[in-house]
């Protein structure tokens, strides 16, 4: 027995993080600027900010449609602050539902032409909540191995059997569906755009297979909303299969330009989710100003055909420019607003990231474990507000930085 004035030796719970701590200190000891410590001192527009006193073009945000400084969006937020105050201080199912929360859910129903919409406090919580709640004990979740962390965490939080398949591999998905015991509930989880390489899923083929085996289908369209598809509803709309999707998951933190997540569905019993989905119930609802900006932004995105066309132009121009300059990209054709540049290793990736910052360009440095196949990526995400001139400037910056750090031959 341990006496009261003695302390037992304890295992440091933080020792499991030692390899990561070492990797980070090794990287920073090379003298490179911390790629995960950038601060924007002032944000000038959706595409330009001041970083370290330097005017910097932003090519690593999810502000695809450039809605963050839209005058109507900002006015709606200010009005809601005046009318409803700074926050709700409560759950959606208690005191946290104001009329702007109902209004944004109606805007989502109109945007997707679906019957039900449920708004969560973040996109992460939308996946976490819906997946963990609808797939229960004895059910099977069949999902792409490159799924976002929020999808994996939703699987981990629930009680279903989790069965991953190789990225975008239709045959591998079918084999797994075929082997599931008869009578078990099945949920197939896919993404429209995979955010690391910017590639899209063959949803038309995959959803047809899922339906053949009687599975329900959930598609995360976080990176396609507002941009892909004739009405900006995402990859499923673009490929003509949105009617076969049971649940669309999305976010306000990308094209919509604020924060929050949602699920839209035509399932006749969908409203019961509001009572049983714990990440919806046991957290405070979004501030009224946030849902008011989201509502205005979503309604404007319904009619943003010209912006969508310009964003496609930007994506195609950057993809071609970087390919011609000699960079290795994540996709052979531009498939989304994300152009991913593959780096030979983390050290040179970080050096390239820093060289770009000195040129006045911010991109995302993505590294394992967030990336597939342990790749280091410089992820570029374009905005509909990037001008054609800015895109040319960006290609020049990449070429100079690539030569400076010996990534281009």
């Amino acid at each position: 027995m341990i006496s009261e004035n003695q302390t037992a030796e304890h295992a440091d719970l933080f020792s499991k993080f030692d390899p990561l701590i070492k990797m980070r200190s090794d990287l920073l000891s090379t003298g490179v600027t911390d790629p995960f410590g950038l601060v924007m001192e002032r944000v000038i527009s959706p595409t330009v900010a001041m970083c370290n006193g330097r005017e910097t073009i932003l090519l690593g945000t999810y502000n695809y449609m450039g809605m963050t400084f839209d005058p109507d969006v900002i006015a709606a937020g200010k009005q809601a602050l005046d009318d409803f105050g700074s926050g709700t201080t409560g759950s959606r199912v208690l005191n946290g539902t104001y009329s702007p929360h109902k209004a944004v859910e109606q805007a989502l129903c109109d945007f997707y032409d679906m019957k039900h919409a449920m708004v969560f406090s973040t996109g992460y919580q939308a996946n976490l909540g819906i997946i963990s709640t609808i797939a229960g004990k004895g059910d099977y979740i069949v999902l792409d191995i490159d799924s976002h962390a929020s999808i994996w965490d939703g699987c981990k939080m629930g009680d279903a059997e989790v069965v991953p398949f190789k990225h975008n591999d239709i045959e591998a998905m079918e084999k797994r569906l075929r082997r599931i015991p008869e009578g078990a509930g099945k949920l197939v989880v896919l993404e429209g755009v995979y955010s690391m390489l910017g590639d899209i899923a063959p949803l038309k083929e995959m959803i047809a297979v899922a339906k053949k085996y009687g599975a329900m289908v959930l598609v995360d369209e976080a990176h396609s909303m507002g941009f892909i598809g004739p009405n900006g509803r995402g990859v499923a709309e673009e490929q003509g299969v949105l009617d076969d999707v049971d649940f669309v998951i999305g976010t306000f933190s990308k094209s919509v330009g604020t924060v929050g997540g949602f699920c839209v569905s035509n399932h006749p019993k969908f409203e019961v989710m509001r009572l049983v989905c714990r990440p919806y119930v046991f957290t405070a609802s979004l501030p009224p100003s946030v849902v008011a900006t989201a509502c205005t932004s979503i309604r404007k995105l319904m009619d943003a055909g010209e912006k969508r066309a310009h964003l496609w132009e930007n994506s195609k121009t950057l993809h071609k420019g970087l390919t011609d300059a000699g960079f290795q990209l994540g996709t052979t054709e531009p498939q989304s607003a994300i152009i991913s540049v593959i780096m030979p290793d983390l050290e040179r990736g970080a050096a390239m990231w820093e060289a770009l910052l000195h040129e006045g360009l911010y991109v995302n440095l993505a590294r394992p474990p967030a990336t597939p196949a342990n790749m280091t990526l410089l992820r570029c995400s374009l905005c509909a507000e990037h001008s054609a001139e800015q895109v040319q400037q960006i290609i020049g910056m990449f070429t100079r930085a690539g030569e400076a750090v010996n990534i281009l031959g």
């Binding site: 099977y140 191995i145 699987c155 059997e161 069965v163 190789k166 084999k175 797994r176 082997r179 599931i180």
Partner: protein, 81 residues
């Protein structure tokens, strides 16, 4: 259809071979992570190969319980029914 343990064991050893870079000798106690040094990508490919060979599903929940070769053979026998 039932198979004897030795047969299942031999078929799994054949599937390990392409992933067994250091040619570690396989016994029931051989651990996939510690002895064979499988990383998460190798695990995915290896599990897919086993699933195809025996026409079964080994869910991630079940994989979490399997640390060594002997446990895998037992799990495959059980899943085969």
């Amino acid at each position: 259809m039932t198979m004897d343990r030795q047969d299942v064991s031999a078929r799994i050893i054949a599937l390990i071979e392409p992933f067994n870079k250091k040619e570690v000798a396989i016994t029931d106690a051989t651990r996939f992570t510690d002895d064979l040094e499988f990383d998460s990508l190798t695990v995915m490919d290896f599990v897919a190969a086993i699933e195809d060979e025996f026409d079964i599903i080994i869910s991630m929940n079940q994989q979490a319980e399997i640390e060594n070769f002997g446990q895998l053979v037992d799990a495959v026998m059980k899943l085969q029914g």
